[in-house]
């Protein structure tokens, strides 16, 4: 017997999905505040351009491509789940997790290079923002990958297929955050 909240839906939106949107609404404020602060400081401090020059556009671009692709596999997983094909949904979710791991591997390499050159989180305000924003985003990638693992496990057995959509919505949001981080940290120099 499932908890009553699983099936009750006063808003006309399934409870799980409602919860995910609420979560994302709070995330909008968290990331929005962080990126907004970055933008304000960046505009007020032209000297940050000096530090921003050292971020690696190609690594950022590769990671953008990886996340966009993982979003694509996540939405295909949702599509498969809608059709009741749990096995296919699970497979596509595993591909999405692969995207998350690739993203994290590239990020580790990138940070290793930067830190070994002395560009650490305490180097100056630019690097503080850089590591805080990208770090908070990376934590979301890690959390998403772990949750996706559980959802894929269930989906493979044909259980709780509605969750494939829920983790997908979250994952696309993580992608959207990166879509803004990419030009902010890597392109606008």
């Amino acid at each position: 017997m499932k908890p009553i909240a699983t099936t009750r839906s006063a808003t006309g939106v399934p409870t799980g999905r409602l919860a995910v949107w609420w979560l994302l609404a709070s995330e909008v404020v968290i990331f929005g505040g962080l990126l907004g602060s970055y933008l304000m400081m960046r505009l007020g401090h032209p000297e940050w351009a000096d530090a921003a020059m050292h971020t690696n556009t190609w690594i950022g671009a590769t990671n953008t491509f990886v996340l966009l692709t993982s979003s694509f596999t996540a939405v295909l997983a949702h599509q498969a789940a809608e059709k009741g094909d749990g096995k296919k949904a699970a497979g596509l979710l595993v591909l999405t997790i692969g995207g998350a791991l690739t993203f994290l591997a590239i990020k580790s390499f990138e940070w290793y290079t930067e830190i070994s050159h002395g560009y650490t989180i305490t180097a100056n305000n630019f690097w503080s923002f850089y590591y805080t924003a990208a770090g908070l985003h990376a934590l979301h990638v890690i959390a998403g990958a772990i949750i996706m693992g559980f959802v894929a496990w269930d989906a493979f057995r044909g259980r709780e297929l509605q969750r494939v959509e829920l983790i997908g919505i979250y994952w696309h949001f993580v992608d959207v955050v990166w879509i803004f981080l990419f030009p902010l940290l890597y392109i606008a120099k």
């Binding site: 929005g32 401090h45 032209p46 000297e47 560009y119 959207v176 120099k189």
Partner: protein
């Protein structure tokens, strides 16, 4: 792959009633992504920096919108969800709008942000302040190096990432660099190098001698004496050296 997905995408009625061609959205996203990466180059060639701003941030909004509407299915979501998200965005916008004037400006009618002004003055080259100070902000290694300088430690911390711990140019961070970092253990490397050139490269970067710009200038980290010590240390890798 794309044809298969296309068929799935067109298969609307099974997909919660949503007629979305996901493959098409994905390809559109990739094209937009390519343009945003190329933007700065176009901006540089044409000299119009506005192009970079539009391709970077304008496209980010378009991409985000495509993902939110089509992948997250916000288009078909109940109105209440759109209102909830909109409320979040408004709160964020209020925060930014309220704080921005104080952060962006460094002085107002009754106040002055001295720390911010000093940071800008330090950071903008060509000012009265010397370069040492500018780099102190940027590169924390300055303190570490000058506090207890020794060439071997400094090499391990700064140079080895690319040039490798053994000087053979095989550091992890240098793997992807093109051209590859200099291999100090290669005997053919040394005949064309003298102390002055090595010192210049360490201090002012590869560009100073017409070599690769990927060799960064490290002059801010070392004083003249320390630079000489670094040159002597690097020379130890020369297999033909004494």
């Amino acid at each position: 792959m794309s044809e298969e997905n296309q068929n799935q995408g067109d298969d609307g009625p099974h997909d919660g009633g949503h007629q979305v061609n996901y493959a098409k959205i994905y390809v559109t996203l990739l094209i937009l992504f390519a343009i945003s990466v190329l933007g700065p180059f176009i901006g540089e060639i044409t000299g119009i920096t506005l192009i970079t701003l539009i391709t970077a941030f304008g496209i980010a909004f378009v991409k985000a919108n495509l993902v939110i509407q089509n992948f997250m299915h916000l288009r078909w979501e109940k109105k209440i969800m759109k209102w909830v998200l909109m409320a979040s965005l408004v709160v964020m916008a209020l925060f930014v709008a309220g704080v921005a004037p104080d952060v962006y400006n460094h002085e107002g009618n009754n106040w002055e942000n001295l720390a911010a002004k000093a940071a800008v003055a330090r950071g903008i080259p060509g000012g009265e302040h010397d370069a040492e100070e500018e780099h102190e902000e940027e590169e924390p290694a300055v303190e570490v190096v000058s506090a207890g300088f020794n060439a071997a430690g400094s090499y391990a911390m700064i140079c080895a990432a690319c040039h490798g711990a053994t000087g053979s140019g095989d550091g992890a961070a240098g793997v992807l660099l093109d051209p590859s970092p200099a291999n100090f253990t290669d005997p053919t490397f040394w005949p064309t190098r003298d102390d002055a050139r090595i010192k210049t490269v360490i201090r002012d970067g590869g560009v100073a001698v017409g070599a690769s710009a990927l060799m960064a200038p490290w002059g801010a980290l070392y004083d003249d004496e320390q630079l000489d010590a670094m040159v002597e240390y690097v020379k130890l890798f020369n297999p033909g050296g004494e």
